[in-house]
Symmetry: C2
Subunit: 353 residues, 2 copies
């Protein structure tokens, strides 16, 4: 099936486009009543992830409402640790938890290398099914957590504000930390390659907690493993290049280093202007971002003004994918997201003339 709208893929490769493509991190999510309905019917969050028909359904929901330029497969970054035996579960209001968090060097040594096509076959099935349902309307994005970000959940046993256990591991037992991160990098590489082979047309690595690390520790314990993954990915499929996006939140002092990993695009949070980010990475990579998600809590006029500000900050030329600087929050009115997408559609052609 031919891809009818390849604006996203072209922009990620810094090729000419006539408008700025847009998709939204967590676009299939709790701000949508239809998502909440499907999730309630599914039973648990994990049931939703693990049932390809349901994962496909929620992936497609935002595309029925909005003129988005991409779908992103509905899943969770913690499926990898789950199938490595840590057993993921969710407690309402408390976020993700693991039944078997990593508590010793021995736990790291014993971690299996899962066959992702088998243990995470439900993700591949959801991707195949969604590609079929999309029928070439827009490209489908696959994703994974970064090794560092996955490791924080695995070592802390869930979410954290200080990452005390994981940081103690990297400082006190760096060789064990590297063994864990190396295993994760191999599995993430397999996982993203399997997603690409199943039909993902671009992939994004979410390094949500890279910003918790010192500049030096970031290079040694996060960046290095993302670069290793980028080098191991299948970069062409179905006769097209498969762009790779790295999104390392809170790591704007590292943009140059991130741009040198060999990825195609960088996700950028809102704490740096796109203008400055672009000046720093030059023409090495495209940039994706970077509206503060909180702007969607204001009214439509404000949303439109800030969309214009963001487009203007990137400026004229190719290589910009419009997105938020982090995931959309559950308290957003979907009509405000519609206003954002309309504003990008109406205002962005002026930046591609």
């Amino acid at each position: 099936m031919e891809l009818k709208n390849d604006t996203l893929l072209r922009a990620l490769l810094r090729q000419p486009v006539d408008r700025t493509p847009v998709w939204i991190m967590r676009q299939a999510g709790r701000y949508l009543p239809e998502y909440l309905k499907t999730r309630a019917e599914a039973g648990s969050f994990m049931d939703l992830c693990q049932t390809p028909e349901l994962a496909c359904e929620v992936t497609l929901q935002p595309l029925r409402r909005f003129s988005l330029d991409a779908a992103i497969i509905f899943s969770d970054i913690l499926t990898i640790p789950d199938v490595m035996g840590l057993k993921l579960f969710f407690v309402a209001g408390e976020g993700p938890k693991f039944e078997n968090p990593i508590r010793s060097a021995d736990d790291i040594r014993k971690l299996p290398s899962p066959d992702v096509n088998e243990s995470l076959g439900y993700v591949m099935d959801a991707i195949s099914l969604t590609r079929h349902e999309l029928d070439g309307k827009v490209p489908l994005i696959g994703f994974s957590g970064s090794p560092w970000t996955l490791a924080t959940y695995m070592v802390e046993g869930g979410s954290s504000r200080t990452f005390s256990r994981t940081k103690k591991l990297i400082y006190q037992e760096p060789e064990m930390a590297h063994e864990l991160l190396g295993k994760l990098a191999n599995t993430v590489t397999d996982y993203l390659n399997a997603q690409i082979e199943s039909g993902a047309q671009a992939v994004q690595i979410f390094d949500t907690w890279g910003g918790a690390l010192s500049a030096k520790a970031y290079q040694d314990f996060s960046l290095k493993y993302m670069a290793q993954i980028v080098a191991g990915l299948k970069r062409e499929n179905e006769g097209r290049r498969v762009p790779v996006i790295l999104f390392s939140k809170g790591c704007n002092t590292q943009l140059e280093a991130l741009a040198n990993t060999g990825c195609d695009a960088l996700g950028v949070d809102w704490t740096i202007s796109l203008n400055e980010a672009r000046a720093r990475v030059g023409d090495r990579v495209a940039l994706q971002g970077n509206l503060d998600p909180a702007i969607l809590l204001a009214d439509k006029q404000v949303v439109r003004r800030e969309v214009n500000e963001t487009l203007n900050s990137f400026g004229q030329g190719n290589g910009h994918v419009f997105n938020l600087g982090h995931g959309i929050t559950p308290d957003v009115d979907p009509d405000n997201l519609a206003a954002l997408i309309n504003a990008v559609s109406e205002l962005s052609p002026g930046f591609h003339s």
Copy 2:
């Protein structure tokens, strides 16, 4: 009384010193058993803040254990909103809350301008008493929250992860946000000047949540007001210059702008190397920081190695004050902090030869 150890004040002004001075954010805090004892005896946290003898006692406790180069008056950044009528209280395990958070434009218009010498007289009394007790041993640092950081607590009603209400205010009703921030800037200026007149020999502004803002919003809603405060401070007292330190956590893309406010020094978190920070600010300001507090959870050899790394990252020369990149956490063993301070004392003279 003569100041016997002025290493901190000299380093903050980038004057020659023979070793790098050190103090620790939240050095009077929950990691110290003697602090926990005094706090338990005081009754509530607010009783501890509001009783000058007790605030003085906990301010001095870390200096009895460690060779620190400064004391910092024990207090809380939220005393200002408290005396503006919001009424601060603490719920165990939940952090600070306000009885009367800001919920409308009218709440902002009605906010009083407190006479800080009267309503916050307990802070001035604690400073006078602590200066007397210190007897010139080391300088005493005063502090305040930044207008933006105070505003987040006042508008959210307490701590927040997303700052939705405060961001909605700045985007939707910027003129009301400016009215609030302007009032806070005036009160913070009065408050810090009163602290200086009571004996604070350096002052620090904590912009703990500056990093939540977009680059542009940061300039308009946080930086601008800190610059206004810096311009309004009494910079000399008792025949000495009173250095002003700005600490804007998570704002490393803004270091140049911060250095241009007229402050003497910048607090730096651990997500940027001191080497890079120094290259960016040049000789305009001194730098204070920036060890990741989590390193204090590793063993003493690791602490020493990372202290050396931090000293080495700043490199040879003046203008460095050793500190963590954020407050010390309650789970730290005080002996590890002793190892940090000893390491700075032993290793830093080599960087001032």
